[in-house]
């Protein structure tokens, strides 16, 4: 806001009241946060205070004028407060600090001393400062900024730098930094005599700076977790000086620098760290004193410390799958009620629904890569048709393994004798797989995988099928088809692919079962009631395998194991005789 030049009120004096009034008025307007808190309808709403500071830059000639300004300021403030209290959108000022900066020309010093009045009244404090114009102006303003924003200064000393051209020699430089004063609390609060030697005055300043020594940085510091109690942003005081920009560029390039505090006793301790995060340079405060966590017990000395078969690599995968990343800021009326972090919690919940923590407590997850696609896919929110097929393939593969009698990888082997028998191992795997699938029924697609397992494996155990224990061969074939449903992606294809005899009128089958083209006829099979799906499956597998090598044509055409040779010879000669012989 610009008010234009002050009005001359005679005697080479200017009217400052207009400016003071405008400043106070600006202070009575609540800031965005104040406004939000004030109208928040919580119990704290009435407690929001309004404090501020007004800096008056002018030139005064006598003590009388200062007194005058103080009084007028106080009067104006009271008046404006009254006005503000009467309105809804303005806030009365609870306390105001008036800082008068008296610019005095170079030459003889100002006769009026620097002075402060901590309580002009209960709501006003005042401070009078002289500033000599010229070179002193900038540092002086800097000092005021330090005071008003509660900043402090640190001088990093002994930074080795070299000239580009003269690489063999280097000189040590100092760089001064500003940062919130709280960054010094950890080293300065306490016994004053212990830290007095750290503080010095820099030439031409009237504030203290804490001198800390540069430590040779380690390259891997940023990959470790340093124990810090606070981190504050910094700026160098002379942003453009060669040493400063040299240091800041070094930090902006991602190097971390430790700062050392000399102790009175002569020893040194690392007290701070300079590091850049995303373009901002920070000063981190480190713990300097003895740690109460010293000599901690190892994790192996506590509960569970002697267990050696934790699924740590698998947990590593879980960690990788649950990494956090910043999400785009939510839009105003976000359709999702969950914050991204809550969604991550949900996801972790889902990923750990069934998660045995040791190898010895699981058979399923010992199977390794064979089971992986299924284990990973079932955690998904949604499954596509392809993914369902992939899961089913895993189940079929397992069945295949069992049929072949492949041994299962077992961590128990060698531990307690021979471990379980093979059938028991498979039984355990199937039971665990069922449990796993049961816990992950997020969508109908997930259910299909479970259904597949039920149908393929322990159909008899499911109540749904109890009625027809005696499996009709036809029925069994159909179910086998369902299990074997691998390649077909589209239900619509059914029929066009030559449905054959099973394709017609199988209305009794559940919807979920999908059919495929009829397999080639199986080897003859008895209708024994004891036959279960497994034997059917095995038979089918063996028959399929047998079909892989082409049957000898002669055997196919044989009659009572005798095949007539050179039938065509005769055919050519006597076309009529051939059918008769057949």
């Amino acid at each position: 806001m610009a008010l234009g030049p002050a009005k001359n009120i005679g005697g080479n004096k200017l009217d400052l009241i207009k400016g003071i009034k405008a400043a106070i008025e600006a202070l009575t307007k609540p800031s965005a946060v104040q406004h939000e808190k004030r109208t928040s309808l919580t119990e704290n709403a009435t407690k929001v205070l309004n404090k501020g500071r007004i800096i008056l830059v002018t030139k005064l000639d006598s003590e009388e004028e200062i007194k005058n300004i103080k009084e007028k300021f106080h009067g104006t403030l009271l008046y404006m407060n009254k006005n503000a209290a009467a309105t809804d959108n303005l806030m009365a000022i609870n306390h105001c600090d008036l800082v008068i900066l008296n610019l005095w020309p170079e030459g003889p010093p100002c006769p009026m001393p620097i002075k402060s009045w901590p309580d002009v009244s209960t709501i006003v404090s005042c401070e009078f400062t002289n500033i000599q114009c010229g070179t002193a102006l900038a540092p002086k303003l800097c000092n005021l900024v330090l005071k008003h924003y509660d900043l402090a200064s640190t001088t990093v000393t002994g930074i080795p730098m070299k000239e580009e051209q003269n690489a063999s020699s280097s000189a040590n430089y100092d760089v001064e930094l500003f940062h919130p004063a709280a960054a010094h609390a950890a080293i300065l609060k306490g016994i004053p005599s212990e830290t007095a030697h750290l503080k010095t005055y820099r030439e031409g300043t009237d504030y203290e700076t804490v001198t800390l020594k540069w430590c040779t940085p380690r390259s891997n510091a940023s990959m470790e977790l340093q124990h810090c109690s606070s981190a504050y942003r910094i700026t160098s005081v002379d942003v453009n000086s060669r040493p400063s920009s040299c240091l800041t560029n070094f930090l902006l390039n991602g190097r971390w620098v430790m700062l050392e505090m000399p102790r009175k006793s002569g020893s040194k301790v690392i007290s701070h760290m300079l590091a850049c995060h995303g373009g901002d340079i920070y000063i981190h405060t480190m713990y300097t004193s003895r740690s109460i966590l010293e000599d901690p017990p190892s994790i192996s000395e506590g509960c569970g410390g002697r267990v050696t078969d934790y699924r740590i690599p698998d947990f590593g995968e879980l960690i990788k799958a649950n990494k956090l990343a910043p999400f785009p800021a939510p839009t105003a009326e976000s359709e999702e009620s969950l914050t991204p972090l809550e969604r991550s919690k949900e996801q972790l919940n889902r990923h750990t629904k069934y998660w045995p923590i040791t190898l010895s407590s699981t058979s399923l997850f010992n199977l390794g890569p064979q089971i992986e696609p299924l284990a990973a896919l079932m955690l998904e929110d949604n499954l596509t048709e392809d993914e369902v097929v992939e899961c089913k393939q895993v189940i079929l593969y397992l069945m295949n393994m069992e049929a072949r009698g492949d041994p299962l990888p077992s961590p128990m082997a060698g531990q307690r004798g021979k471990g379980m028998k093979r059938e028991d191992q498979y039984r355990a795997v199937w039971a665990e797989l069922e449990q796993y699938l049961q816990l992950h029924l997020h969508t109908p697609a997930h259910e299909k995988v479970l259904e597949c397992l039920m149908e393929c494996h322990n159909k008899a155990a499911t109540p749904e099928y109890k009625g027809d224990e005696k499996v009709d061969i036809d029925q069994a074939l159909k179910e086998l088809d369902d299990c074997n449903y691998v390649a077909d992606r589209d239900k619509a294809e059914f029929g066009s692919g030559g449905g054959g005899k099973h394709a017609t009128g199988d209305l009794s089958l559940p919807d979920s079962k999908r059919r495929r083209t009829v397999p080639p006829p199986l080897a003859p099979m008895g209708r024994s009631s004891g036959m279960n799906l497994l034997t059917l499956w095995e038979n089918k597998v063996s028959s399929e395998e047998s079909r892989r090598c082409l049957e000898f044509q002669g055997r196919l055409k044989s009659e009572d194991n005798v095949t007539k040779l050179y039938v065509n010879l005769q055919k050519d000669k006597d076309k009529d005789e051939v059918p008769r012989k057949k």
Binding site: G134, T135, K162, E163, E164, Q165, A186, G190, S219, M223, E224, H227, C228, A231, V239, N240, R242, C246, M273, A275, G279, D280, H284, Y287, R290, I292, P296, P297, S298, I299, S300, E301, G302, C303, G304, G305, R306, V307, P313, F315, G316, L318, K320, K323, L324, A325, P326, F327, P340, L341, R343, S344, K345, Q347, L348, R350, K353, W355, I357, T358
Partner: protein, 574 residues
């Protein structure tokens, strides 16, 4: 939390328990001096440490008119007990001496950031001089603040345990002083036995003290459906601080919930409010410490606990393997990180760093609630093989130290800018591009500050430089310098509209093979200046230091840019 047992050893502690009923059952309670009762109570406190808080530190300080550290901070509670038995009697009670001693010892040992407990055990009689002290403590401004340690310069709880009958006149007189001490410190309590003084009532008193102040944390660590009972050492303290609009006081929940994982490098050593060891509890709820070395005794009861799997160990192993941390929630809108931490190379453990309460406490990670599963994002920011990372978040505005802006607040800034131009001038024509870039930068600033004298000064410097060119120098250097100082002098004539014009390199048809090599660097392009850049700039001309020609010319010859030293000895460390 480190605990100081501050024991009053003044002569009055050697009073018998109750003066009024001295002799009825003298045989039984013959020993009951107040100091014995105090020792008895301290024993029960130390027993509690030994049993439940093995990792705590305690120390024993006695005071009368002087203060003595009988046992510095240690985890060996037996030695403190032994020291208790060897306490010598002193003279008068000077509470301030005791508090100063305790504060001093804590500051020396733990600094000012570690929360501590101070248990002042006394006989309920603040002794001679208490009225004067009380008076000085009551008035907020005028107390002998320099010496008096309250409030302590570190977060501390002060509990005053009085081995006294509540009805004793001495206690009644001293009570306001005790209250004032606690008030000054902010946290703590006065404890006094209920009913008469006896071993039993003192035991109850210390039980109360333990219950209120020394109970260990017991909670559960959750990660989805996995969980483990845990304790935290040291027990987490409630966070209490005054913020702009409210006073926040929160305590850590009994359930700590893992929310997701982050790379250790990405969290970049965030500031923590406190740090705690996460120790798994047995199913019975006890903390188990197995013998460190694996001796022959495999069938001890402790080893059974070691063989029951705990999720903590798995989590620790996973975090260590992947070099990650787990972001967890410790309370409402309060977060922390779990990670594997090793004091030395051998023993690593699970550690919890608790942040300051709030959602936006680590600037380079953004709002914590805005972190979500990377796998749900359209493109995983970690890349297919964890090669990239979304952290740290980039800041919006550029910092002054990251911009190459003109700052002439102090003389040095101006001088170094001029020197830079001269350095480039001496390396013409190799540095032609940099020379004009720097020249235009200074010229632009000088024009916008209304600092015409600087241009004139700079022109003279360059002219002088031109005349001093050694005969071996390239002829183009002289041409460029002359062009530059003439252009600077003409700023008010030909370049009156400064906004559009930059001094550009003079085109030279001087044919020489050397020119060919230098100009092959490419066409020099100079920044075009937008007029808007000058708007809003403050004119500080009248206060600006008059550029003294001598000042400007005084240049250390040939001082090129600095670079970081690469000391061959240190090369490996960098």
């Amino acid at each position: 939390m480190p605990t100081v047992i501050l024991l009053d050893v003044s002569l009055s502690m050697s009073r018998s328990v109750d003066v009024s009923t001295p002799s009825q059952n003298e045989e039984v309670e013959r020993l009951e001096l107040r100091k014995d009762l105090a020792a008895h109570g301290c024993h029960s406190l130390l027993d509690h440490f030994a049993q439940h808080c093995k990792l705590e530190f305690a120390c024993l300080i006695s005071f009368s008119s002087v203060c003595k550290i009988l046992m510095p901070f240690t985890r060996d509670f037996e030695s403190i007990k032994n020291a208790l038995n060897l306490v010598e009697e002193g003279d008068k009670t000077s509470i301030d001496v005791g508090l100063v001693g305790a504060a001093q010892h804590i500051l020396e040992e733990w600094g000012n950031g570690t929360p501590c407990q101070i248990v002042l055990v006394t006989d309920g009689n603040a002794g001679i001089g208490q009225h004067a002290m009380q008076k000085s403590l009551m008035s907020p401004h005028s107390r002998g603040a320099a010496q008096f340690p309250l409030p302590f310069p570190f977060p501390a709880k002060l509990n005053i345990v009085c081995i006294a009958n509540p009805s004793e006149p001495g206690f009644q007189t001293s009570k306001p002083l005790y209250q004032r001490l606690i008030e000054l410190n902010g946290e703590g309590d006065i404890l006094i036995p209920e009913g008469g003084l006896s071993k039993k009532s003192v035991s109850e008193l210390f039980d109360q003290l333990i219950k209120n102040n020394f109970s260990s944390y017991s909670g559960t660590l959750h990660c989805g459906n996995l969980s483990a009972p845990i304790t935290l050492s040291p027990p987490p303290q409630p966070y209490c601080r005054h913020h702009d609009f409210e006073v926040i006081r929160v305590s850590v929940d009994s359930a700590i919930q893992v929310l997701g994982f982050l790379n250790t490098g990405d969290v970049s050593s965030p500031p923590a409010f406190s740090r705690h060891l996460v120790l798994p509890l047995s199913t019975k709820g006890d903390m188990v410490m197995l013998p460190k070395a694996d001796g022959g005794s495999d069938d001890e009861s402790g080893n059974d606990e070691g063989k029951i799997p705990s999720f903590c160990v798995l989590l620790h192993g996973g975090l260590k393997r992947e070099n990650t941390v787990a972001l967890c929630q410790v309370g409402d809108n309060w977060y922390g990180i779990l990670y594997s931490w090793a004091d030395n190379k051998k023993k690593s453990n699970l550690m919890l760093s608790i942040f300051v309460p709030g959602n936006d406490v680590i600037p380079w990670m953004g709002k914590l609630s805005n972190l979500g599963p990377a796998s749900l994002l359209p493109t995983n920011p970690y890349g297919p093989n964890e090669s990239s990372t979304p952290f740290p978040l980039k800041i919006q505005e550029e910092k002054s130290y990251a911009l190459n802006c003109v700052v002439w607040v102090r003389q040095g800034g101006l001088q170094s800018d001029i020197q830079k131009i001269l350095r480039h001038a001496r390396k013409l024509p190799d540095k032609t591009q940099s020379f004009y870039k720097e020249l235009n930068r200074v010229r632009r600033a000088a024009l916008s500050y209304g600092f015409g004298e600087l241009l004139e000064g700079l022109a003279s410097v360059l002219e002088r430089e031109c005349t001093l060119l050694p005969s071996s120098s390239h002829p183009v250097a002289a041409i460029q310098l002359q062009h530059a100082y003439e252009a600077l002098r003409n700023h008010d004539k030909t370049y009156s509209d400064y906004s559009g014009s930059e001094i550009s390199e003079v085109s030279s048809d001087y044919s020489d093979e050397n020119i060919g090599t230098t100009s092959s660097e490419g066409v020099y392009v100079f920044e075009e200046l937008e007029e808007e850049e000058y708007q809003g700039l403050m004119v500080v001309g009248p206060y600006m230091l008059e550029p003294d020609a001598g000042d400007v010319v005084e240049v250390v010859p040939n001082q090129p840019d600095m670079e970081w030293r690469r000391d061959p000895k240190r090369l490996n460390e960098w």
